[in-house]
Symmetry: C2
């Protein structure tokens, strides 16, 4: 039973019964960061192999310099990404997943695979909803 059902919602109710701040919710702590606009994209690329800063910019052409820096920094801060600076001139910086990043992405990736397989069904559901009286 514990193997199958997530303890999350039970803990959630317990937390709320105690009046705990939901900002300390384990799920939100992790998911809110990973669900940002660019984090999924960068994680995918880093899961494939380490990348230079400039490589990431080139592979994600519509990301702003500010957001790639900030997103990578947030991912580094949470322990998912390792940032290594090579003291060349000019300097080169390589980003890679940490062990924790790899571990996390093994779980996150399943949602990505679901999205790959089912995004058309989602789009269809949206169009159907919008075409109905509910839209």
């Amino acid at each position: 039973m514990d193997q199958i059902s997530s303890p999350t919602s039970a803990r959630l109710r317990a937390m709320q019964a105690e009046g705990m701040n939901l900002d300390s919710c384990p799920v939100r702590t992790v998911v809110s960061r990973l669900g940002s606009k660019w984090a999924p994209l960068l994680l995918q690329l880093l899961a494939e192999r380490p990348h230079r800063f400039s490589e990431l910019r080139r592979l994600v052409p519509d990301i702003s310099q500010r957001m790639i820096t900030q997103t990578l920094r947030d991912l580094e801060r949470d322990g998912y990404v390792n940032r290594s600076v090579l003291p060349t001139k000019p300097p080169s910086v390589t980003y890679s997943l940490t062990d924790m990043g790899v571990s996390m992405f093994e779980s996150y990736r399943l949602l990505f695979e679901w999205a790959e397989a089912n995004h058309q069904a989602v789009r269809a559901a949206r169009e159907a909803f919008d075409a109905s009286d509910k839209g």
Copy 2:
């Protein structure tokens, strides 16, 4: 090989080579919606069992009326959630996961379980980062 590696990043590069709009990215289509502030919480509760509107409000006390309505509506629009109105007086509305919602959550849930197991490590990483010169 195809079993293990996600085709996402390969497709991503192909899309970008064609100059496609990244808003049509399969992963972003799905993930951006599910990573919102309240969607994970509501999905967890609905994955457990169907809930009335008022039940959800009670179980998530710090959500505003506006956002619970909007989040549930977004999830319904994307085909994850079913909304059934019982014509009682006053009306009662029950929300539940659709088959697609159950399917999606089976994948999403693994990230939740990872978060449950590792959120302390994430918090520790944050504190270490903030305590270092990088913070």
